[in-house]
Symmetry: C2
Subunit: 449 residues, 2 copies
């Protein structure tokens, strides 16, 4: 038989147990936080009609979608994000109660060049939370609060959430005397502020054909101090003739007052004119969350209001606001900070066979421990105890249980704690209780560290 070379497509990867165990923990954590805010789970198919998926992305999307060969044509493709499928779902299932708060944690696919060193893959998970059908900015505050709590609970220390508003950016373009259609180019330039600095923006704007005087106004406005409600108010008062600025500032002040009322503190939220956020479809507040522990790491989560998108499918405007959490980036950040270390096993105790004939007792003990809810493995073969324990230790299993011939006669078991080397003799009937107590002690030690 011809051997097939085992390999994966570039930009995709196997998630082996050592990665998956901590990924599952992180996904569970995110799910718990979303649920605590009343978001409900949704899943949509990976395979959708091409015209549905292209709805939003237009010509750029053409290149980034993986098409399927179906009946000789290319009418199907793999989803590119979770926002377009949400928009389709809301239009297609018109009876979903509104406001519709949903979370969705599924892979997406992008046919671009993978940059594996920066953790950019062609197949990766998105974890989104959105609220559809609520215009009131209280919904923006909810999304901001949920991503702030999410990032806070990761245990990376202090963090901040940068907040801006598309109307304010629009007002800045108007204040600079530029036509509205210069907006996208200005946005793209501003979005690079952290990478290229003010000088870089100036030359970027020059390249885009923005006149000297307009550049001066824009750069002057970008000097406006970052901060909270006071800085939002002072911007509003600085440009009283720009209705878009007034509108954006009023929105942000409303969001700030909701966040204040929620009572988790306003410290993390930073109004900041230098935040634009790439995607075209935002119409209101936009935001991105960063950990202060890793100043050069990009945003861990981001989102905004996009009231126009659903109309592509429904024919009528439906308000929508949401955020996406970058799970791969969070895992990279946790790694760099030495948090959430890799774990190579979920097993709590390994029952070993010591010598011939010990299998029935080992199997019986394994069954008992599992029925007591303890994650248990059995060593499939007997062999030298020291060598077996070495193998168990390498796999990161904390406890080993075995029974020599004399112990068997006395109805006793030996329980070895691998981290300390301690060994306990336990009466047969007490094994579940003692094992559970040891697991709790090890967990307490781990969280005390």
């Amino acid at each position: 038989m011809e051997r097939i070379t085992p390999r994966t497509f570039k930009g995709t990867r196997d998630l082996l147990p050592v990665d998956m165990i901590r990924r599952e923990e992180l996904f569970d954590y995110v799910r718990r936080v979303y649920r605590r805010y009343g978001f409900l789970p949704l899943e949509t198919p990976a395979v959708e009609y091409l015209d549905v998926l292209l709805g939003k992305y237009g010509t750029e999307g053409e290149k980034l979608l993986y098409r399927l060969d179906y009946k000789g044509g290319h009418v199907l493709a793999l989803r590119y994000d979770l926002t377009v499928p949400l928009a389709r779902v809301v239009a297609q299932h018109a009876d979903l109660p509104k406001p519709f708060k949903r979370y969705q944690m599924q892979p997406v696919w992008r046919a671009d060049s993978p940059q594996l060193r920066q953790g950019r893959y062609r197949e990766f998970y998105q974890c989104d939370a959105d609220i559809v059908g609520e215009e009131d900015r209280i919904a923006d505050a909810e999304i901001l609060a949920v991503i702030a709590e999410l990032v806070d609970g990761l245990g990376m220390g202090t963090f901040h959430v940068r907040v801006n508003h598309r109307k304010i950016l629009e007002g800045m373009v108007a204040a600079a005397g530029l036509p509205a259609d210069a907006g996208p180019a200005v946005l793209r330039a501003i979005d690079k502020i952290d990478k290229v600095g003010e000088k870089g923006i100036e030359s970027e704007l020059e390249r885009e054909g923005v006149p000297t005087e307009a550049r001066r106004v824009l750069l002057d406005l970008l000097q406006h101090p970052s901060g909270g409600a006071a800085e939002i108010e002072s911007l509003r008062d600085r440009l009283p003739d720009q209705p878009a600025i007034a509108e954006g500032c009023a929105d942000l002040l409303r969001i700030w007052s909701c966040l204040d009322a929620l009572g988790s503190g306003l410290e993390p939220y930073q109004f900041r004119l230098g935040l634009a956020r790439g995607l075209d479809y935002y119409t209101g507040a936009v935001y991105e969350a960063f950990t202060d522990a890793l100043p050069h790491m990009g945003s861990l989560a981001g989102g905004g209001r996009y009231d126009g998108l659903i109309a592509i499918f429904s024919g009528q405007d439906v308000a929508a606001v949401g955020a996406t959490v970058g799970m791969d980036r969070i895992l990279t950040a946790l790694d760099q900070l030495g948090l959430n270390p890799p774990r190579s096993s979920v097993t709590e105790v390994m029952v070993l066979q010591w010598g011939e004939g010990s299998e029935p007792a080992a199997l019986a003990m394994t069954g008992r421990l599992r029925r007591a809810g303890i994650s248990t493995e059995i060593g499939y073969r007997s062999g030298k105890l020291g060598k077996q324990i070495g193998g168990v230790s390498k796999r990161g299993i904390p406890l080993v249980l075995f029974q020599g011939p004399e112990e068997a006669e006395r109805g006793e078991w030996s329980l070895k704690v691998l981290s300390s080397g301690e060994q306990h003799t336990v009466a047969e009937r007490d094994v579940e209780t003692v094992v559970r107590r040891q697991i709790e002690a090890i967990a307490a030690e781990g969280s005390a560290r």
Copy 2:
């Protein structure tokens, strides 16, 4: 702007919250059981090279794989199952410690005609558990034990697991005087026994060109009583000259003794010659689990030993045994039995705004409850209380909290239990405690029913 018709590709589906909430519970349950047996999580890419995926399926697979259009060619496709990816992973990551026990819960895609009424989709989840690298039949017993426990814990009442062995089927073909290459046709015929009965098998075998005398021998053997170790031994003693029968029976007796030692009882396990199990790649024991509550429902889980498969990638034989759990079928079965009813919300308490000006207090209470770990939503707009409560009730949220102007003055809240209509007055500082107590009472009532 042109409106795009919102629609899904036939054979795929949206899983709305009402389905997803219980699906997530079922997936969590399966994950917990797998982990209790020491299985570790694995994920592999949806997109793989075509030759890798075709390794096992050959010409049949050609038709069932969805290919991707990539650089004008079709070298990529969507995975068809989780077994071939596992075989690839084991060959590609040779340093994975053996035995490698893994679970994997991911979607697969099949380009066949969907049969939506029978719950057969083109995109659906598989939930597999496998043990790679252990020849000893103790590993078969572990797989059988884990699927038995899984089905048992679903709360559908009694169940059974049918067990047979490919070597025994091989021995039956030999005993009937047929050449080994008649095996697949005989297997296909036997696999239909529950659908077509013995007469049906007889004509099926006749169509396949099996001579009269051979048919008589096969049908006679199929009369062999189903059961446990005694019936396995009597089959072995009945055909002492067939080495394949002897080998298969010895394997099954070994598995039975391991299951016995594990101590959960042998009642569910049924040795049964009429079980063949479709797939070509099995080499040893095969099994399928059924609920007795729905005799006409197909198997809820199934699997077997497939020692040859991994060699396609590794060039050397690697022992492997595993099972797959049919999540969609289990959900259908739970539905038919009225278990695991649909739930339209995960929210435990809804805080309502009663009258203008109540928003800040409602937001503050929402923040407090969430920080106490209680899943809480806030009604975004104020409005008539009765109408608001009606909406909450429809959404399946059990508790409502609100504060009228007089209560606000007294520092009190009203907590309404929607199932009973009871209403409690709660002091501001006690709200978390009382809400938690009510949630526990409702949960206890639910599980008592």
